[in-house]
Subunit: 284 residues, 2 copies
């Protein structure tokens, strides 16, 4: 794709709001990803629980703090759509643990990928009620810890197996059932760019946006459709209007670049970080 879809000056988001989501440099340890951010003057990082656990929670928190980085989010909680009582209790316990980790790391938001259809089930309504119920049971602890739960609508192609919350409008309707200081939505361009209601729904999300993630939709999709995401500017998403709408809706937090892509993971991390910064400056 030639040409670059830039943002208007009014909507431009400065480099002080850039965050590198750890998934973009999947093969780095937490300490390596933190050092990469420092080398490239990226002020914030989105952390993943597996890499935090590998480093040790206290050590991870200390590493990030010593580097002077902010933690824009912790990825992730969710996967609430389990019916069997023991599995359900385990899922809730795991989410409570994730909230505690987010608090210790000083993360603004715990990102939730809600879960697909329960095994053997076809009832989307049931799955959605299970999610609402689970989020409700997490709200008191989220408020106590001062960590917001960020419901991330996930692209409808993942509805069956990853998240029945498949549009921003639906995520807002769900979040609105809970206090705004505890539950919001995370806007990820990859998941929502196609939606004819996007501008209306972002406006409707005013005061509820607790995270903003960017990457591009690149064709063709690879064999593993989880990994079809590209650097901002490599695909078809028009980032300018989305960024402007998110800003107009009152979101002034970090913008995470989160790219699941085998080629990006195979590239040298410094090259990836350079490209992330350049594209962010040019397009967001």
């Amino acid at each position: 794709m030639s040409g670059v879809a830039g943002a208007s000056d009014a909507a431009r988001i400065g480099p002080d709001r850039l965050s590198l989501n750890q998934a973009t440099v999947k093969h780095l340890s937490l300490a390596e990803a933190v050092a990469l951010c420092v080398r490239h003057d990226i002020p914030a990082i989105g952390l993943w629980r597996d890499r935090v656990a590998e480093a040790g929670l206290a050590e991870a928190a200390a590493t990030v703090r010593a580097a002077g980085l902010r933690v824009s989010s912790l990825c992730r909680g969710g996967f609430f759509t389990v019916a069997e009582p023991d599995a359900r209790r385990a899922a809730l316990a795991d989410n409570l643990a994730a909230l505690a980790e987010a608090a210790e790391l000083g993360a603004d938001t715990l990102v939730l990928v809600s879960g697909g259809l329960p095994p053997g089930q076809r009832d989307l309504g049931l799955a959605r009620r299970m999610i609402a119920d689970a989020i409700g049971s997490l709200v008191p602890e989220a408020r106590r810890l001062g960590v917001r739960l960020g419901i991330e609508p996930v692209h409808p192609m993942f509805c069956a197996d990853r998240s029945v919350i498949a549009s921003l409008g639906e995520a807002i309707d769900l979040a609105a059932q809970f206090p705004a200081d505890a539950v919001g939505v995370v806007v990820d361009t990859y998941h929502v760019w196609w939606d004819a209601r996007l501008a209306v729904d972002i406006a409707r999300a005013s005061g509820r946006i607790v995270g903003f993630q960017v990457c591009d939709w690149v064709l063709p999709l690879p064999r593993d459709i989880m990994l079809g995401r590209g650097h901002v500017g490599d695909g078809v998403i028009d980032f300018g209007p989305v960024s402007a709408a998110v800003t107009a809706a009152g979101y002034h937090g970090y913008v995470e670049v989160e790219i699941f892509n085998a080629d990006v993971w195979a590239a040298p991390a410094d090259q990836t970080a350079t490209k992330v910064r350049e594209r962010f400056a040019a397009i967001c």
Copy 2:
């Protein structure tokens, strides 16, 4: 997936409303597909233009008529999102030709797959205006011929390359710009099953539903994501509520089974037709 998601008696759709979309038996000629429907007591067929052209339009119409079959739809028109003037004129001419073919075949509906982003463009709004403009220019001929244009919302994973009309709600908003006797929507379970607004939007489509297609969402998606569709009952879609909603919205036309799947195509056609009938009776 064990168990079968059946329809309640109230919503049950009889075998007199079954139609076999030709794409389900992709490797058959039109004459072979017609003969298959007759052998299996399937009263209607959804035709594809390439197979009609191969047979010859007059011959195809005569073959279908002689067999006593109804033509539930002709697939397909659309692909309106071309900017270059010659290409745009060619697209409109092709759609006018498709309307004439639909009329000669006695098809109820010409199914429209609207088109993705124009090459090199990221502007979804532009693409959507191009589609509205093209449909508007086809309406007079559609009314004159008595063929309805059926806007098919296509799954959002095809938004970039096949159809920027990616949700039923959006298709209804588009159709509503035109007279109801000329423009409606086609509901295909594969494309819309994930949508939290589906029940509301089907109700809103009352009087505008001009086609209903069924197949199932089966995981994992294959390498070619066009071909991930399965026999009704093989996947995760809960057909009962969708059928009931479509019926409640006043649609009493044929229900086409349309399956893009390499394994289904490789199976003996009589086996496929038998399975289509059995699953339709059990589930729709």
